[in-house]
Symmetry: C2
Subunit: 258 residues, 2 copies
């Protein structure tokens, strides 16, 4: 229960404390794979950082790296080596730039948090890596004990391959729409024109920045609209609070029609 | 020179390769102090990550922690301990949440990058810390050899205290406007109604997400408008490409008038 202390009453009523749902998530986890997209992760995490000022929550980061692949690293805990946004695909870095950022994980797929209420799956170039099977398996096997699953950008491709989007409305990055939806063309009810989708306990967003809009929409649904609006104001983010229309699907459709 | 290889010509003309300035920055650095705001950093870094696919650039992260304060850490290089968004101020975390993220730095104030073309100063709760003198001194002493200085959110308060905003138009977070501008009320030409400002080689933005708009504006000015628009499209970010008007200054003014 993430009810703010000052709003708790003896009956634990969610009616009286204005929560939109009785038991909003407390424990959030974000999956980190090599070449994740930085804003896919930090957009939602920024929203949660603001939410954390009003509700007791935790945010953990789960690396998909196995210990074996990190043995050459001198870090204290080899399996918790920081995960980088660096892509190994030369085509994604034709000028050999060095413009990467890393995030130190708190957990690993092999040793995940004891409780995950909401799991966030980001996108990025790394979703095109050939070795995603452990990550996909983790999403598939963890899904049943999650309150909520949320995907950002091409993270929807991971969830789709895990089978957990089947029969549910879902969206993804509009520029890589064809490539991502082709990972599982039947099954998910792909919605191209959405900034984000909500279907049962599964939320998906469009590309990169759309993850911020989705996360604010999720906060509105689970903690209340006033909480979400207050966070958007603190972040000075012009929140698209209607997930059902997307400027980038529109733009891409117009470009395709030319 | 960050001219894309395929656009270089023998004369090195900036006219012919569509660059908006002859010598756009190559080496970007971001200052990381304890309790920085995550999106203040990752918003601009995301933009640079996309820019890095078209231009050879570097992005480094400079921790303000001194080695001495990190001696208890088991990290390989004690001075390069990851810098956390965690605030020590209990008032900023009344529910004892654990919703923080860290970034491993590449450099320190004592051992900064050999070349910094553009320095980015984020904001966050950490700008209210009492021990910012080394950071402020670094900005003051480094400014003369920078091509550009950019501040996000309350990072403007650090630049203001360093004296480098004097005589220049500048903006900052609208919710903490009074507190931040009071750090140096005379000197900077504070502009409340701006999403971001550009004055000579100094750029400043409003709160948090405004750093993304500023960075895209900076890319437009230095690499060309088409480059900036392409990045905004890839990020699915609805870029406010006019820095001279700010929805959040407007909203705050309306709230103050009630």
């Amino acid at each position: 229960m993430a009810v703010p202390l000052e709003q708790r009453d003896e009956k634990g009523s969610s009616e009286q404390n204005n929560l939109a749902v009785a038991n909003p998530p407390v424990h959030y986890s974000v999956i980190l794979f090599p070449a994740f997209d930085a804003l896919d992760v930090i957009g939602p995490v920024e929203v949660l950082g603001h939410l954390a000022r009003s509700y007791q929550i935790t945010v953990s980061f789960i690396t998909t790296a196995s210990s074996a692949s990190s043995l050459n690293n001198s870090s204290h805990n080899a399996s918790l080596t920081p995960v980088s946004t660096r892509t190994r695909a030369a085509s994604m870095n034709p000028f050999n730039s060095s413009a990467f950022v890393s995030i130190p994980p708190t957990h690993s797929l092999a040793d995940p948090p004891a409780q995950i209420d909401a799991l966030i799956v980001p996108g990025g170039a790394g979703t095109r890596a050939p070795d995603l099977t452990p990550t996909i398996s983790f999403v598939a096997s963890t899904f049943a004990r999650l309150q909520y699953l949320l995907t950002v950008c091409t993270g929807a491709g991971i969830a789709a391959r895990a089978g957990v989007l089947d029969g549910r409305r879902a969206t993804t990055n509009k520029k890589s729409w064809n490539e991502t939806t082709a990972l599982r063309p039947q099954g998910p009810l792909w919605e191209r024109s959405a900034r984000w989708t909500e279907d049962g306990n599964v939320w998906t967003s469009g590309g990169v920045a759309a993850g911020i809009d989705m996360m604010l929409g999720f906060v509105a649904r689970t903690y209340g609209g006033a909480v979400a609006r207050s966070i958007a104001l603190d972040m000075e983010y012009e929140w698209r609070d209607d997930g059902s229309w997307d400027a980038f699907a529109y733009a891409q459709d117009m470009a395709d029609a030319e």
